[in-house]
Symmetry: C2
Subunit: 658 residues, 2 copies
Amino acid sequence: MLEKLFKPSSIAVVGASRNRDKVGNIVLRNILSTFRGKVFAINDKADSVEGIRTNKSLKDVGSVDLVVVAIPRTAVPQVMEEAVQVGAGAAVVITSGFRETDEEGAKLEEELVSIARKGGVRVLGPNTLGLITPDMNATFAFADVLKGNVAVVAQSGGIGVYMLNWAQRTRIGLSYFVSLGNQADIDETDIFQFLAEDLDTRVIFSYLEGVANGSKFLDVVPSIANRKPLVFLKGGMGREGAEAAKTHTGSLTGSGDLFRAAVRTVGGIQVDGLEDMLNLAKILTADEPIRPDILVITNSGGHGVLTADAIESAGLKMAALTPRAIDKLKEVLPPQSPPKNPLDLSGDADSGRYRRALQMVQDLDCTKLVIVQSLPMVSCSEVARVVLGFKGREVVTVVMGLDEDAASRTLELAKMPVFRFPEDAVRAISYVLKRKPPQRKIRVPQPIEEARSLVEGRKYVPDYVAMKLMELYGIRTPRWAVVESSSQLEAAADKVGFPLVIKASTDYPIHKTEMGGVVMNVERDSLGHAYNQVSSKFKRVLLQRQLHGVEVFVGGLRDPTFGHAVVVGIGGVHVEVMKSLSYALSPVSEDEALEIMSESKVTQLLTARNRNYDLGSVVRAISTISRMIVDLNVKEMDVNPLMVNETGAYAVDVRIEL
Amino acid sequence: MLEKLFKPSSIAVVGASRNRDKVGNIVLRNILSTFRGKVFAINDKADSVEGIRTNKSLKDVGSVDLVVVAIPRTAVPQVMEEAVQVGAGAAVVITSGFRETDEEGAKLEEELVSIARKGGVRVLGPNTLGLITPDMNATFAFADVLKGNVAVVAQSGGIGVYMLNWAQRTRIGLSYFVSLGNQADIDETDIFQFLAEDLDTRVIFSYLEGVANGSKFLDVVPSIANRKPLVFLKGGMGREGAEAAKTHTGSLTGSGDLFRAAVRTVGGIQVDGLEDMLNLAKILTADEPIRPDILVITNSGGHGVLTADAIESAGLKMAALTPRAIDKLKEVLPPQSPPKNPLDLSGDADSGRYRRALQMVQDLDCTKLVIVQSLPMVSCSEVARVVLGFKGREVVTVVMGLDEDAASRTLELAKMPVFRFPEDAVRAISYVLKRKPPQRKIRVPQPIEEARSLVEGRKYVPDYVAMKLMELYGIRTPRWAVVESSSQLEAAADKVGFPLVIKASTDYPIHKTEMGGVVMNVERDSLGHAYNQVSSKFKRVLLQRQLHGVEVFVGGLRDPTFGHAVVVGIGGVHVEVMKSLSYALSPVSEDEALEIMSESKVTQLLTARNRNYDLGSVVRAISTISRMIVDLNVKEMDVNPLMVNETGAYAVDVRIEL
């Protein structure tokens, strides 16, 4: 579909300047020095540029596959018309000053896209650095990168250049490099789709500030992530960064929490910064398998201690040595060092001791994290050469000391992962291990008929209707009754049982407690008094059986980018204080529900102090709510609290906005 | 006091081997090539070593200042006797195999220290790599480090060598390097004290697994940290690392939480890993001041976005631009880029634009974080040269791209801090900004006489006595009464008031709730029933007025290393689940109490939802408990919960162990 963009047989550069400092000249030179097909240079003021004859206008070229545009913004729509006329399949619009700049630019952007769409021209950009393929460099960056298996997709030109420089410095080979720019037409998902099919590309790294089309992303990316690792670095995770991104690529960054949930759903890996991305690349571009448990092998006790600390704080597991491995290792270690994990080979270990130790553990099902400090008895390079002999045996190496550069190169050339700090190695390993299997969310609304008729035409759902909705969906509620006059009180209270809670019942959400609309712990003898207290201010009153248990927060929301999602956390006031919330996209499977319950520490709360609270009922409630918000197209809802005890989970207060 | 160790006029090497691979030979060579005073080589099998005549025995040398020992462990005590005889002031015992190895070694270690102490010889080690001073290298590490202003103190030999290698690679100059080893005599605090006085040393970096003498540390280190920055990396912060440290330097690592509290008290900086330590060194060894607010200046929007994210997530503040600065910056920036923070100079910025922007903001009271991505219009080196002109203007630079190495060197030579990743720069800045002023804790027990007599001779304090203790110390309790027979019940209940709680009252702590010893929400009509329920199992019963409010946890403990400390967190079951606890050493000032309340989110809980709960009473309770545990030499106590509402803070359940 994007063949003309990625594999054109001819390219026209519109705005091919003679001035060697201009973007239009640089991109032409880059193309001329890399591309073997036909190249046209369009310039209406000069006869030749960089040794090739120019055409005055794009219309003069007859036909062309790909048009690269580097002219002032106001002239771009006209050129798009011409591109349509000459049958171009794609255009790379390098020109900036569109949506990211002002209203005028936004209009021009709409105009150029509408022309291109009508004429069947796919557009990369505007405001893009261009793209690099195995057969051409159509960017204005001077980049001398090797051909290889890593694809880079960047929404920011600056980050794009940084990644190109990184590839150049570290001699990592790239298959494709795409600068997305404003994504007026072609978006990140289109590019991912192409790269998924591409045989040269083994791993995809991306920098995004926002996702252009959330539902397309959720639809398509899981099957891509199933085929190759897909890494995301997102700019604008925080408030300050999001603010900065708005003026930068004109991106609405969207909620960082939802982005994280979306990446988890599609089976991607989200890193927390550039350095983490480069460190993770060391593992993903190498051929070494990574296993969940880690065995640390070192010649410095201190390094072993720090590494064990790092493994624990990353939530990873130290491997347990088998009795057999311990026996074998005893032959290798000096008598004063009993075999343990971390395995301290001692400061007098030479490379032979490293080799023997690796031989003894090579069949253990764990990641072997080999750490070498250059000491009088051994250099990093010697151990690096030993490690080469254990390729494929799940070995990750950390080289520390004077010759660490040389030792690094030895291992990198052999495609074995190597780091300078144990903490970096552990972080990179943890990204790989924490990746979840890709999932496609099926979001077909299938509302229960009665539920639909209950909410029809409403923006807010009155509390007692919300209770009925919960029950229709099979979520339990505490026994309740609505009382509209004091004559109904006794019978209603008998139905509900004591102790009970009396609450104001309103059609719109209010802060009931703050407005004196809640009385707790009501027994029979205080019923009348409590009722009068609330009913003096509110006409309708809700009686609810008071339950004991733990308060859990379950919310639902409709995200403008990624659609319906649920959020779970420890309930009551702790929601706001601890901000220990975890998100998942709807619908949520029971596995995912368990996952976000444990991430947000809800599971820990429900099982603390040997409590036997009903975890299963919470899992079912989360999963049910995640389907309900899709069925009824809920804009926002809170169940706070969902009261959980030994007998189940009960929706106590429910607020729904449609 | 350690003059003979650090500035000897003569050195004897005992175990000066002819074998060039042996430690005793290497250390001799290192000394010979650096030290200008008299050197004796002790070897009873050879006449000369490395070109100098040997003595058969240490006794033969007449007199010597410093003895370096590298002989088998069993011979070490005898050599210590001889060192005493020849009037040595200090010994460096390189030999290992002592406390870190086995019982036998532990005994030998005690023996050698006892001989040395009696004879007035100070001992570094055993199991040390040695030390380096501006005048000598008395280690067995081959290290070619520059002389400079950074002191390194390491408990682990491997980490010590790593730091030496680091200094060598980065051309950072060292003043002193000390490998502590087992700290049988000289400990980290002794070394810090020497370095505090030393005029060459401007900053001290240390790696510790445990502190040898906590009270000495707390006593002495604050005044050191007042004079120069003191950085700690601790091995064994986690469970896994602590386990590994035990077999490594024989260290009991102690509690990581308490270590963190101790470092805060003494005004040190604790880093989370080796890489963080090296990054922090970039700032501490440079001359650039660091201000609390940060202005980001960049030529890549994406870098700006990621940096703003990093600043926010480190809890630091983006600087606000003054209207005047905005006006001035408008002259510098292209029209489509309004001046903001991050200040995006645009991808077409040349080094002149960087210079003009820096001129416009150089007087702003903030840290200027200058980030340059090498782009066609500008290289890192060009901007590095521009930055040189703003030395002393609070500039921290991040260079990214092809020539980052060269640009780094330019700035490092000028002692200006420079990084490769914005995230690293932000982390390093945050360590500097989060440092607290050093404090010396005065821990003189001044028990209230009545309190002392209440606890005298007890291991556990019965609950009602604990209540009285609280009251003696001015901490409020809910109204309470003890009931030992049903005849007292009515009167006691009237005194306490309703609703009340009935609890088993025991002399030893038990799990009251689990054992059916607690009934809540007791009103007059259920009093008799509830009383019977509890008193059927427990002879003595406590009535307590039931209060509403927020549950806070306040604990006190006696740490084997650092003595009395308090711990604060969100109370009830959340203590265990969220593990959001914060520690401070006793006695705790009101400022510190506020600090740990906010760190553990207690403050946030007390002020959430516009609550007007009494923060001041919690501050006073924490500070009072911190003095009380010193006064009464408490081993462990919990107030859980301290119930806080608008009227104050009330100790509801108190458990004290002496």
